[in-house]
Symmetry: D2
Subunit: 283 residues, 4 copies
């Protein structure tokens, strides 16, 4: 979402879909430079529990398989980061028969990954073990020169996070002989100047599920777009009562999107009895 | 935690470990009857992600196996509720080879369960399919007369939630012939007055992991108690600056408990580089 | 493998890769029409444990995702058959977050599937529940008219077995209005003449992993081809001492292929101690 | 099964339940010392697929939890051996949230474990990593002095194989200070004379699921005993036509046991159509 002064007069509010976008808007709000109320669709549970986790989980592996044809069973897959994207990638990689290693900087996420059955170690140790590396952090330079130099021959590098900064491609170029060879539309081979030389970089370090596969499956986009639509309707009705800040998706919208999704899958659930409503309020 | 006026003078603050306890304290706060600041240890991530989920998940199945000797592989296990306890129970039951059915009243949790690979349906439908029923809700009368009457012969009923109210034992008595037979220390057999008669109730509907097994494994209690201890130290140092309300565990305490746990497991993790710290703040 | 009289003089032996091919050769042997010794590569453990299971498991889901873009998490996937291909498909589908239903005619495979945590039911019941159907049997007319008519709107039909006979496409044509619509290169939409009309047939009922994806990943083909090569060398050295029948791959070849594969993955394993060798022989 | 000359006249045949027992009988047969026909019940698929795998898998973890109260999630569990028992133990340990390492001497089983998503390494490497060690081999001295000396402080040693020979308790005694301390009925603590001293040995190295838990769940024993019973009836009717050797359980008995088990679980399966029967025979 561009957020420029010139647009101000016409715009009464906005919605934002991505983690990175919400971070930027929160920064604008803190700097008192936000111009109108914004609903952070990314923070709806019916968005991040499904889109960031299940959507990215499946489509990232899809992008890797389409680019390389590799068998995931038996491979060492390193998921860098254990936020919702990392959880999705790690869970699906395990489901495909891989041994999964997680790297983290947050101790709570790290121990969560460990108790979920994954190995946890520093990136420098993981670098020597991985067959496939997938960055899932939203951060910069997660995989960099020191890691490239420790990696085995023939490893695959893919990014499932945000921009093309998670894998430090600049330093990968700097330690490679000649220009990378183009193996196919989305795969380049770098010949690193040490003994274990071949590294395969997917989609130039851009998000592999968008570039090398077809992005999220429609089912998860439907959940996200439903949040978008209902949030826009909400803003249209309430913008003159809304503070100029980053708002959460109203809980009722989140619940409604969940209900519509269940309906579309033909799933019925229970409702609280009168007695249970009363019990909840009494306690 | 008793919260009585008489104790007031001696007490400068408190901590609370359980979901139910926190709910009651929040109710007291709303009624302006809270007497001193309380730290809700239950809400620390290093508490609920591990204690409520992994601790209860393992120990609930342990209690059921010790009481009944049943093979979990191939059984239909109904997890009533998909909060942290329900997630733990469902995940472990699946890990032991069971087919897991989840019931819920919250549409978002319901669709989360469905996308996690579980079946989701109303309790009345699940009643006819389950071999083992485990309540995980914190609510009352989750399994009641109408459900008992639809169940197969020989089903097992266990509670992993809070008090002995989730399984409506009163109505189970009312539809049974004679007194229940005591099969072993923690198992009673009810002969329900219809064709499919035997129901096995574990630990009289009290939480099965505490009564029929040995509660949480020490590793998860260590995490919870570390939060307790550090929260008490925090209160001791800060109580005169704390509002009389229910406080979250300070984020730094939560992080520290995670770090100590990783240390004790011999696990090292990464730290953000200077460049990454900068990137995070810039964006 | 063509097996014709004319070829006889030049040929001293053969190898066969597929389940179907081996069945045909065994039939020839029984009919005393086999002309030279054949080694059934398909029966090597380093073939069927990996190729039929892990290779087909991954590439079948790959073919379905490429053709339809569908999210597997939360879907009801019906695996028809629980041989090695069915085991692979069911395991991977579960790993991707699906609820998996298995159909079988063999009671032992059926109870194996049930104890592995899958639902087991007759095809007619599964027809009403599935979102995606995958035939894995090597048999004919597994999904037929009576099943099509019970299916939900919009289901996906794919074959991972052998020829294009597992899904009875002829009867699918017979109950559809007009010609099927071509959705993309490998997907046709049939409008069945009842209320729940759309069925999506992938790759015209031919094996979906070969037609809509790229077949097995190279790692599993390497195992199969290694068995082929070593079996051919074995025949070249031994054909004059071999009976004209279908032979198993010699155990030593199977073991060697396993060892080479471990080597290529950088994995070391233990060797029996002298004491253990002695213990094994003594008992 | 005792197999003594004196018993000969009264006995017309026998059945054998265990892997070890069958191995001994085969040895007797080879030495031409078998006195009557024996049916190897252990080799029935409805025995080993369920008893050795699912029965031992669950009850072994049960024995370990009862003896130690340990949380399995997040632990490094080493399964020594990847036969049916090892497969069961590894699968259940993973299902409980553990990171599982497999050791093997057979290259095919080793690569099978690797492709099933487990780590595979030599015992000496695994010794340094494991928190819990479970022997599943039927062999002798799988864990021995050199391994004990590399292990971390506080590790748990359990045997799920056959006799009390898999863990070399003699050498464990020899490197420990004083007599082991008895922690509880089934757990002894050895203080090994190096820095990382405490090792906890369960049930004196005897099979932990029989000693520290309650053996197999009744459901799997029912399958095994059904094979026993039907095999005895078979011998009673056919012993005068049976060669004096170790016989497999007749396929029809195996199938029947599977069918009875499905019936008892209320599960229906398909039957081949006439067309399918014909297709099978034609091909």
């Amino acid at each position: 979402m561009a957020h420029q002064q010139t647009a101000k007069k016409e715009i009464v509010g906005g919605t934002e879909e991505t983690t990175s976008g919400v971070q930027r808007l929160v920064a604008l709000e803190r700097a008192r430079r936000l111009l109108y109320p914004v609903v952070a669709v990314n923070n709806a549970r019916t968005k991040y529990l499904f889109d960031n986790r299940h959507g990215t989980g499946q489509s990232t592996l899809d992008g890797i398989i389409r680019s390389t044809g590799i068998l995931l069973a038996g491979k060492n897959i390193v998921a860098c980061g254990y936020g919702w994207v990392g959880k999705g990638v790690a869970t699906r990689a395990k489901g495909m028969g891989a041994r999964v290693i997680v790297t983290e900087v947050d101790p709570i996420k790290a121990i969560e990954a460990k108790m979920d059955g994954f190995e946890v170690m520093p990136m420098l140790d993981a670098a020597a073990l991985g067959d496939i590396f997938i960055t899932c952090t939203g951060q910069t330079c997660i995989i960099r020169k020191e890691h490239f130099l420790k990696m085995k021959d023939g490893v695959i590098l893919a990014n499932a996070g945000h921009f093309d900064v998670e894998i430090d491609t600049k330093s990968l170029y700097s330690i490679s002989q000649g220009k990378p060879a183009r193996i196919n539309a989305n795969t380049e081979r770098f010949d690193v100047v040490n003994g274990k030389k071949k590294k395969k970089l997917l989609s130039k370090g851009r998000v592999v599920n968008l570039v090398a596969a077809e992005g999220h499956p429609p089912e998860v986009m439907a959940l996200s777009f439903a949040n978008q639509l209902l949030s826009i309707l909400y803003i249209a009705r309430n913008y003159d009562r809304m503070d100029v800040k980053v708002h959460s998706v109203p809980e009722q919208i989140d619940q409604d999107v969940g209900s519509y999704a269940l309906d579309s899958m033909g799933i019925k659930i229970d409702q609280m009895t009168v007695e249970q409503e009363r019990y909840q309020h009494s306690s």
